[in-house]
Symmetry: D2
Subunit: 342 residues, 4 copies
């Protein structure tokens, strides 16, 4: 059994990690830390865990965490970079669900996240945990930077087009819509039911922190600079991201076949039949990305529809997928849950 | 492996049965019938099942179903009573999630359901599938009448009080609230999002079909006639039932202890700590009933709060629980899923 | 034109007052105060008011408010009692939408609200602003205590029964369900969309502040002590309260006629036809209470269904109704808006 | 008083027309027809209208309708073209909220709507009722083709750019999101709460009927052919459309000023301050379009955000606005309602 710990388990990615790891056949959940809630049983905060997980929040001490084989950080940015070095030195593998190690260019990171980065050497070491592109590096990694939720949906949607140089890269558009859980379990007025239900809006059009992360990934796929317009929106539901991607084709190819071949060995990417419209609810609670490809009226504009559950394939599920790969388990272990529908 | 079939799998209890049985370690799902959808892959109707269940709807013929060890009816009333006899004769066990065998008094059934009952002998044989009260009979049953969703929440909530003769039985009140999935996956205007979201209403106050079913159960527990006022309401969410129960205490007892003792061996009934308010989301997708007991201001009015997921402990999960008991499996087999929160 | 001011207009009752008063044909909205938002245009906080109301939040000074004919307090308890005396002395009428003057018994108020009451003489003077019972006193009042949202729905529902001594008063039950806007526009985790949508729960079963207020009103109607069990619930929608009321009849009367006669001259109470189930959405945004009366199976248990919009007839609309009465306007002036459906 | 009639008032645009016209100070609502509901009071179907509108559905006969000064068609396509000729001959003005007269090219219409057009001469006569571009023609029109909901939001968003030739017209993108009321008040499984809440999806990516209508409008503005990719999505709420528009700038202009000038005399188009993100709830129930313009990272991609209430500025409100213009009333008469927030 792999001994796992979680730092900062009081948010939505935290409780989703708890749900997945509590049911994982090869994991023993040993530690979950929260400074503010130390001593409280996790089921006291998350009633879905009653009788399912007999664990209390504890202080985030090195002693508590160093007993683990792997530690997940489900924390705001800035926390993982402060603690990872010590854990790695103790031989603990680290999977950060936050943003600390995602962006390779330190000054870019510092500009978007508004703080100095204290461990740039870990950024250099960290593997970006998108298994569909970095599986081999993940296998031998000590430190994983789990992709953000929007970046997962957008990169998986664009990947086959960019890897094959099929589209004009200077005017890529990602129009993305997220459920409210993406805003986290913090008390803020904008995420109140009375503010965010029966409402739809764009936000951060001028610039969202996931923009440089997505761009970095697209550049790597394309092997050249890209121009990306990324517009995130808030949609009145709990879970789910729907990315609608637009690009101009440079040549005429069978996109359906291209995508099917690219993802034929990927358990967690489902290329739907031609003409499909993937629904976010089809992945609710499941570690799955579903993709459909369209060329409206047969023109040269390709429209890719890509959906994930932001808390699963966009966060906790992908983290577990990375862990499975790092520890040479079946990549799908503990990730077989079927989406809850309706 | 137990070979299982489903008749009428195109509704919400049907897809929930599919979700549970597809992941059940000791079940092989062999047949799912739907006259209207014969030939269609189930994943074509329910996209959450893509790559999870490779099965097509087929015609509801005896030949198709008789190969099974157990057949679930997830159908409107009237269907199971037409088909169960033949299946039972072939040695197939039958679990009806509908209403055909729930009410022992045939004339009462005919009055509330508006049709003649064609197989009263099966009603006499059928075991009412509430394991918390009928576990022994279920073990040896050939035919199970699964309780309705409201009846499950209400009976589990009242049970300890009535079994022990602690309350006045002539003025019991069950004020129950259900998510919209209780109305089924039929095209009807009242269940449209635009009619049922941002709205709350009572319905069927003059009389709901679950009233005689609940009354029958309460009479059995109390050993005497009871007077019950049952008011169902529709609440704007997909899943969940919350029953708020009112009764007048006849004597002063430690209700918390009483409930904890009554349910101490019941895996799927969770008596919460004193002062709790169970939330329907804490059981979303899980085969669980959570109960809390209150005596406001220490008076003689007892208020019981009882929540279930209407599609799981109120339907498909309870059906699987019955199957597990009938086939001498671990009662919790395939039912360990943790509620999805948020 | 009546000059109106609002103290504390940054919550949901505040914005609803703004919506109603901005469109009121006989009101000039002069002042809206908010210490934290002084200087900000109201449309900057509430975008529905853009181009509809050219007013900025200002400091809550006596000077600002004393120019008004009437001042509405849309504040947490404790604020109105600190400011009302000075305004009344200046000849300004005061309508408190909060709880400071609702409960006549000072010690009861102090017990439930957890602070000392500094102006008990104003409590003695204040008229409880439920026009359907206190219209005459409201006409000549200087100070109005607007009823709470639950108390409005529950009292209007029970009133004809209690005024006529038709039911047993020792076991009244009010099972009430509220939309989330009742929790206000404060940043608290429990009111986040991700916590309160797709969820239903009871709360404060041990005792809610509206209990003593409702009891006080029922006692006045009944002319005797009453025993009330009040259980509030949170339902996943923005606006609306549905109260389901239970009482035991002492004699056989035509309840439908009784209610129709009691409310025949009340513009804002609609007794629906026999057999109806009022929906909260039928009053969304409207100053209306709709009521239906049932006797399930013709027994002696009467079930009253009473719905309001908690922000309108349960708060801002009722406040305007009181103002209309106090200033001898048409009681319905500015309150003719039709509920928004769907 | 203008005598108004409605054909087909049982859908959501119908009830919204009823709400607006019942409160319109210069309109007498005389007739509302529905073959299936003839004889039923409108308040029996739409409880928000109880005590607000004393009118029954009647048969859609010429005799009933010819008494009106204006008749609104709130019907599926094919109905208005069958009845308009006779009404126009009787001197009744006709405002069609459906699609019969929107598209000038008959063969294009027939291709997208799948039927023959029986009155092409009326298509030639009809004025496209987008007042912000066709106000003068509307003044003298007998027959108005009210724009579709998506076309209203998209055209108002693109208009200043195209009229001034500022963007490349061959790759315009409109990524639009609609609430579920856009699907109408028909019993269909896809619009059930359990299918469409907690879900987000694109639909009709291959081609939506509003595409040719939008293209026609954009071509007129641009004075040249345009290439448009239009992707509609369903978002889990009742009311509201949010269009996110993308175009590539050809020259550097002050877009904020451009939009403010273009719409400075338009009551129902609100250009928000630079950097804004309009919310659909800010127009819920109001005849308003709110627009914000962005150039992310100062690049040459312009992103326009345009929101309306699909039932008001996208249907019934715009129809009333057209009526006001046709009858030389104040254009805002009866349209002053403030959006309901929260």
């Amino acid at each position: 059994m792999i001994k796992a710990g979680i730092v900062g388990g009081t948010g939505y990615t935290g409780v989703e990690l708890l749900r997945l790891l509590a049911a994982h056949p090869e994991v023993e959940l040993c530690v979950i830390t929260s400074r503010s809630e130390a001593g409280l049983p996790v089921a006291g905060m998350f009633p879905n865990l009653r009788n399912k997980l007999d664990l209390c929040f504890s202080e985030p001490t090195l002693e508590n965490l160093a007993q683990c084989d792997v530690v997940f950080y489900a924390t705001p940015h800035g926390v993982a970079m402060a603690g990872a070095t010590e854990l790695l030195e103790k031989g603990v593998k680290v999977i950060d669900l936050g943003a600390d190690f995602r962006i390779k260019d330190i000054s870019t990171w510092e500009q978007w996240y508004g703080m100095s980065h204290t461990t740039p050497e870990l950024v250099a070491e960290a593997v970006y945990g998108l298994p569909e592109i970095n599986r081999d590096e993940i296998k031998s990694a000590r430190l994983i930077a789990c992709p953000g939720c929007y970046p997962t949906a957008v990169q998986l949607g664009f990947m086959p087009l960019l890897e094959n140089g099929l589209v004009e890269v200077d005017r890529l558009i990602a129009d993305a819509k997220s459920g409210v859980s993406g805003a986290g379990r913090k008390a803020n007025v904008g995420a109140l039911l009375c503010e965010s239900s029966e409402n739809f809006k764009a936000y951060a059009v001028a610039g969202h922190r996931h923009l440089p992360e997505i761009s970095q990934g697209l550049v790597q796929m394309a092997g050249t600079n890209v121009g990306l317009t990324f517009v995130p929106h808030l949609t009145p539901m709990i879970r789910g991201i729907h990315a609608t991607l637009y690009a101009t084709l440079k040549s005429d190819v069978d996109l359906q076949s291209l995508y099917e071949q690219r993802y034929q060995d990927e358990t967690f990417v489902d290329v739907m039949p031609a003409g499909s419209h993937p629904e976010t609810r089809s992945v609710k609670g499941a570690n799955q990305c579903r993709i459909a490809i369209h060329r409206p009226q047969g023109g040269d504009m390709v429209v890719v529809l890509s959906v994930i559950d932001n808390l699963v394939k966009g966060a906790a599920g992908q983290a577990v997928q990375n862990m499975n790969i790092m520890f040479a388990l079946d990549e799908a272990s503990g990730l077989g849950g079927i989406a809850l529908l309706p």
